[in-house]
């Protein structure tokens, strides 16, 4: 019964989104039923469809968890986008500097690396970089809130812009191969990459980019669950989220919990870099994120800030994101922007229904 009670409002929100979305499709002049079929059915029914969807879901699981952990402490982290940007750049930087990257500049070979570490050292180093740098960028607004009381919402918004401008500068001026028309860094060394899952599971088609980071995402769902509900730290973090004043009377320092929550939140967002940089693109590409940081807010809300809910909601949004491509191609008038509209309606409804869930 508890699960039913938790699921009822998200289901109402999703239903409302499809009804309103359907009306918009009708106004535009297409058939809502066939559009929604295109949106959803391609993600099921084939191994390729399912595994592609899981690939799309991976970054959303990380950002959804990131937003959920902060939410549980009463904080709204709108900065996951900036956190994953700096983490991705830093991971690529380590992969270049310690990965033996040699670049070809107008026919001349140039060694951009300091050393060439073996995979057994470099992979953990890159993993740690993604987590620590994301965590650091998240800790900044946490610290500012704890120390000066400045609102984390404003600071995380501002830090998004700062992060994106900063890594854009570093890429453009220092780590882009001269002559490359695309704003991206040199490739990371082979020893910094993580394998795709189809190397171990031959039934997954060769062109599916699903990689090890998906397993890490599942692991993080379990980790966040254990942390929040089975440890003293998690209990203290939630206590501050429920009622900071009562928590303080109980001997818990809200300031400390705010910094911890934002650091963990940032670290989770930073893990997006693992799948993207180490598992998929093998460099830092500016503009790689399809606004996953903001989608994470929708994922966390729809998933009721619970790891299991986040996982399900991430799959749901991944289905929509992937389905959008088919809608774009196979309907006459509807474009993939429909997905954003549905997402926005879901956010508004979940937010508006929040007061009935207490």
């Amino acid at each position: 019964m508890k699960i039913f009670r938790e699921a009822i409002y998200p289901l109402i929100a999703v239903t409302a989104a499809f009804i309103i979305g359907g009306i918009i499709i009708l106004i535009i002049g297409d058939n809502p039923i066939t559009t929604f079929q295109l949106l959803i059915e391609n993600s099921f029914g084939s191994v390729k469809g399912i595994t592609e969807t899981l690939f799309y879901a991976t970054p959303l699981i990380f950002t959804g968890l990131a937003v959920a952990v902060a939410f549980r402490c009463g904080l709204l982290n709108i900065g996951a986008e900036g956190q994953l940007y700096v983490a991705a750049f830093a991971t690529a930087w380590v992969g270049i500097k310690f990965g033996g990257t040699i670049v070809n500049i107008f026919g001349k070979q140039e060694d951009w690396s300091w050393v060439s570490l073996p995979a057994i050292l470099l992979v953990p180093l890159c993993l740690a970089t993604a987590i620590i740098v994301g965590g650091f960028w998240g800790a900044i607004p946490g610290y500012l809130k704890a120390k000066f009381g400045s609102h984390e919402v404003i600071n995380t918004i501002m830090l998004n812009f700062v992060a994106i401008a900063l890594v854009s500068y570093l890429t453009q001026y220092h780590y882009k191969i001269p002559g490359d028309p695309i704003l991206q860094t040199a490739p990371i060394g082979d020893a910094a990459t993580i394998p795709k899952l189809n190397q171990f599971l031959p039934f997954i088609p060769q062109d599916v980019a699903l990689n090890f980071s998906f397993l890490l995402a599942i692991l993080m769902c379990v980790f966040v669950y254990i942390f929040l509900w089975k440890t003293k730290w998690g209990y203290e973090l939630r206590a501050v989220g429920e009622n900071p004043t009562a928590a303080e009377y109980g001997g818990i320092s809200p300031k400390k919990q705010i910094i911890i929550a934002m650091t963990i939140s940032g670290a989770l967002a930073g893990m997006v870099a693992i799948g993207e940089v180490m598992g998929f693109r093998h460099n830092y590409y500016h503009g790689f994120s399809a606004e996953w940081g903001f989608l994470g807010i929708a994922v966390a809300l729809l998933g009721r800030n619970h790891p299991l809910g986040v996982f399900i909601a991430a799959i749901f949004f991944a289905v929509l994101l992937r389905g959008g491509i088919f809608v774009d191609a196979f309907t006459e008038y509807v474009s993939k922007d429909l997905v954003e509209v549905l997402q926005a309606i879901i956010i508004l409804f979940v937010a508006a229904l929040q007061k009935y869930t207490k």
């Binding site: 404003i154 900063l166 500068y169 809300l301 474009s335 922007d337 956010i347 937010a351």
Partner: protein
């Protein structure tokens, strides 16, 4: 020779800064009415886009920029009303709902424009004679924005309406006890913010530019929010902050592809200038440049106790 050259550059600069500041002045003044009434407005970006898109479509279809402008601000008002219902009637988290409105306004205009004009996310180009015209070298919308500043100041500080707006943002219980309709004032504040932010957006599409593109406000709504915080929610200071940000943006544009913006022979990367408004806001919020005091009831839904 070099002196006249410098003067010319300064002149171009000032005009360019005013042009770039115009949409932010509208949006920030709008945000001021919403936040002074106690409602956090992260949705300025989306409200601007609503104005920009509607104004571009109507102006293109009917070849009348004034009617386009009017429809644009009307669309902003309607969208703000939806935002107001979610946060005031349903007491939704104001930040979350604001994020929702912003995402909605990335999707809706793109969806409609690709259905109407069959081009991914942008509308048709409007002929130059049907854009908002320039008067004395300044766009009429810029002039309107400047006139709006003293008007907003007068309304906020010298009228009963302004007093009520401020009262419900500072102490809604006391305001209620004094017979002020708290919720109605907040609806008004939020709708006003939609109308003004949309005016800024309309200027973007039918004044500065001649069509709408997806996400064309490009963070201006957030810079307006930053300006509002820097200005400590006061109209005259809002103007100064917006002009300052307009100036930095003009500088950033000038630097791209020019060689004169150098310090000690080193080129200043444009990204550092782009960062400036955001870094400044973080510093001000931390209280390093005087304490930035928000309206006391900002972000707290009002529940009438019976």
């Amino acid at each position: 020779m070099s002196e006249t050259f410098d003067l010319a550059i300064i002149g171009i600069f000032i005009f360019s800064a005013i042009r770039l500041a115009t949409p932010m002045i509208f949006a920030a003044l709008g945000g001021m009415f919403s936040e002074r009434s106690g409602v956090i407005n992260i949705a300025l970006e989306g409200l601007m886009l609503a104005g920009a898109f509607t104004a571009a479509v109507v102006t293109y279809e009917l070849s009348n920029p004034y009617f386009g402008f009017l429809c644009g601000i009307l669309a902003g008002g309607v969208l703000a009303f939806i935002f107001a219902i979610t946060v005031i009637k349903f007491e939704a988290d104001q930040v979350v709902a604001g994020v929702g409105i912003n995402i909605l306004m990335l999707g809706v205009p793109a969806l409609l424009s690709s259905a109407i004009y069959d081009s991914a996310g942008s509308t048709e180009q409007i002929a130059k004679e049907f854009l908002l015209p320039d008067v004395f070298g300044l766009n009429v919308a810029s002039i309107l924005a400047f006139l709006l500043v003293p008007t907003a100041w007068y309304v906020l500080y010298k009228t009963p309406f302004g007093l009520r707006i401020r009262a419900v943002g500072e102490n809604p219980e006391a305001a209620d006890a004094a017979g002020i309709k708290v919720l109605r004032m907040r609806y008004t504040g939020v709708i006003l913010s939609g109308v003004l932010a949309a005016a800024g957006g309309a200027y973007l599409s039918i004044g500065q530019s001649s069509f709408f593109t997806r996400g064309m406000s490009a963070g201006k709504g957030f810079i307006a929010l930053a300006a509002l915080i820097l200005a400590k929610w006061r109209p005259i200071q809002v103007l100064i902050a917006c002009l300052f940000f307009g100036f930095t943006e003009a500088l950033a544009i000038q630097i791209q592809g020019s060689s004169w913006a150098k310090i000690g022979g080193e080129e200043i990367p444009v990204q550092f200038i782009e960062m400036l408004p955001y870094v400044l806001t973080i510093i001000v919020l931390a209280g390093f440049i005087g304490l930035s005091k928000a309206p006391k009831a900002l972000g707290i839904p009002y529940k009438k106790e019976n």
